[in-house]
Amino acid sequence: MSRYTSPGLAQATWLIAEREIRMRLRSKAFLISTGILLLMVLASVLFGGFASQNVDLPKVAAVGSAVAVAEDTGALEVTEAATVEEAEELVRSEEVEAALVPDPDAPLELTVIGLDEAPTSVLAVLSVTPGIEVLEPSGQNPFLIYLVALGFGLVFFVSALTFGSIIAQSVVEEKQTRIVEILMATVPVRALMAGKVLGNSILAFGQIALIAVLAGVGMLASGQDLLLADIGPSLVWFVVFFLFGFVLLAALFAATAALVSRVEDVGSVTSPVTMLVMIPYFLVIFFNDNPVVLGVMSYVPFSAPVGMPMRVFLGTAEWWEPLLSLGILVATTALVVWIGERMYRNSLLRTGARVTLKEALVG
């Protein structure tokens, strides 16, 4: 008898996963694109920090008694002009947003002169506002909401697409080079697919973790700790959802890619899966202020990894909602992995023409 006994399912899976990771980390293209992605994240966090600190006051030119009124507001950067004509000239040359000139007949005894429209930012400073009370403050400014939506959407979109297509390529590469027959004779097909999904999930997850850490450190470094406290919980949910959501997509990429035999055909055969990745991205960007769309998104397995963290961030999700949605996602993932494995197994030895969905499912 041979001294060697076949590795268990777990060990075989890990060997496959390890090779996927090793080969990926050896690829210069992968390392460079990861570096660029990380730099972009760091740059945008830092840029966001600086931009929020340097809010410019509206610039105005003031004439005579208007100078004192303008300076009293404390919210305008005032340039003194000797005459009304000189002040108007400054407006025309766009050195200031508006000119304030004395006008005894007008309210506040001032007239505000704009260039081509009423200078709203200046008017807002000068206007008298009644007392304001908001019963249910949303607590977040719309621009920030948009940024967070963009962040979740983009990160999920880019990672799922990058690693999804890496998995697809790797499946077809094994089919095209025929090594798959040796692999099938050596390890269970289940280990083959699981190893691929696991290896690439680890890479994707590592990349996401790096991005999250970098974003967190960047926010702290640029004095945005308040923002970090705001985003924190949704960030944690995002990571958890990403984990399962990614496995779901990875299984779909592996199963569909197994239908073709040439790397050139990967793009067309995986395009339905690619759509599943793109749709949540566009939905969250266009409908991040629409509670109905977000509500649906947060329960549909393919968009939950983006939709649910978004709702957690907005504070519109009850405490049990992420758990329920996660349950749905995990169940769907298990089902899709089961079907995917079947398609994968039935397609691996069929080279040449594209395997039809029916052949792949029935065997």
Binding site: S6, Q11, T177, I182, T186
Partner: protein, 306 residues
């Protein structure tokens, strides 16, 4: 160069029992049954599309038969037992961007070898197959012949107990064929059943102890090389004498196949007739040569396939 495992000698018997397989409406294998005996090299020959590759895939469990079974020493093959097989598929495949040694080691580890053992066996095999210097080159940078050697190393790295090799000699130069033959014979000598297919009948003729001929998904002939030869050349003899052999024509029970003065090839109805002919030839002059005529494998192949 001679680690402990090379001394092992346990003879195993691989058997196929009436295997049937169809792809859709097309029947590829019909009641395929044969055995591969441990310690012997078994050649598997058949034309294109005869069913060799399908049979081998079924032995390895890559494909499932519609009916029938494969047993090793009488017990049905399990996935566990199959990992101790060495398999070389017809469609060659290795990862193009992986280094040769790294790749062979990886396949060894997939078979459950500890990394150290896998590395050691890999280097030994690559040295023996003349690929030692290319161990750290990527597979895609190798010539086709060298890729083939790497493929053989990948099939043997885990000290398999049974070898199933689809066309192991295709694409090899004569030197490499010699080396690979030596390696395979060593495995057989340790008691491993070795089944290999080849289109190069002269190699099969030189190398195999047993022979299996398949055509249209059916086994047409199976047995030891000698048995097959005798079965397909009943009573064919060759005679060369100093004088003339014309008298053969009038000898009862003899049919002359080929005749040229002192040389004749003839068919006899029994060994007694052959002995009688030899005595008469010896009585009429010097016999330079008298021998049963061995048909070549190519002839047997043509005969059983038709």
């Amino acid at each position: 160069m001679c680690p402990a495992w090379r001394i092992r000698s346990v003879e195993l018997m691989l058997e196929l029992h009436s295997i049937n397989r169809s792809f859709g409406d097309r029947r590829v294998l019909t009641d395929v049954a044969f055995s591969v005996t441990g310690g012997r090299m078994t050649g598997f020959v058949g034309g294109n599309g005869a069913g060799k590759t399908t049979t081998m895939r079924i032995i390895l469990g890559v494909l499932a038969p519609d009916s029938g079974s494969v047993t090793l020493d009488g017990s049905p093959l399990t996935a566990e037992a199959r990992t101790r097989f060495g398999y070389m598929p017809e469609e060659r495949g290795l990862y193009p961007k992986m280094k040769v040694a790294e790749q062979v080691t990886y396949i060894g580890r997939l078979h459950g070898m500890p990394t150290e053992d896998a590395k050691r066996n890999t280097m030994e095999l690559l040295e023996r197959l003349g690929l030692g210097e290319r161990a750290n080159d990527t597979v895609e940078s190798l010539s086709l012949g060298n890729q083939q050697r790497a493929q053989i190393a990948a099939a043997l790295v885990h000290e398999p107990e049974v070898l199933v090799l689809d066309e192991p000699f295709s694409g090899l130069d004569p030197m490499a064929v010699e080396v690979v033959q030596g390696v395979l014979k060593d495995f057989a000598a340790k008691g491993a059943p070795v089944l290999f297919s080849s289109h190069q009948l002269d190699i099969v003729e030189r190398l195999c102890d047993d022979l299996i001929v398949i055509a249209d998904g059916e086994i047409r002939a199976a047995g030891s090389r000698e048995t097959l030869r005798e079965a397909h050349a009943p009573g064919l003899y060759e005679l060369t004498v100093a004088g003339d052999t014309g008298w053969l024509r009038s000898e009862p029970g003899v049919r002359v196949v080929d005749f040229d003065g002192g040389h004749a090839v003839f068919e006899t109805d029994s060994t007694e007739t052959a002995q009688r002919v030899l005595k008469r030839a010896a009585a009429s002059g010097d016999v330079q040569r008298f021998a049963p005529r061995q048909p070549s494998l190519a002839q047997i192949f043509k005969e059983v396939v038709q």
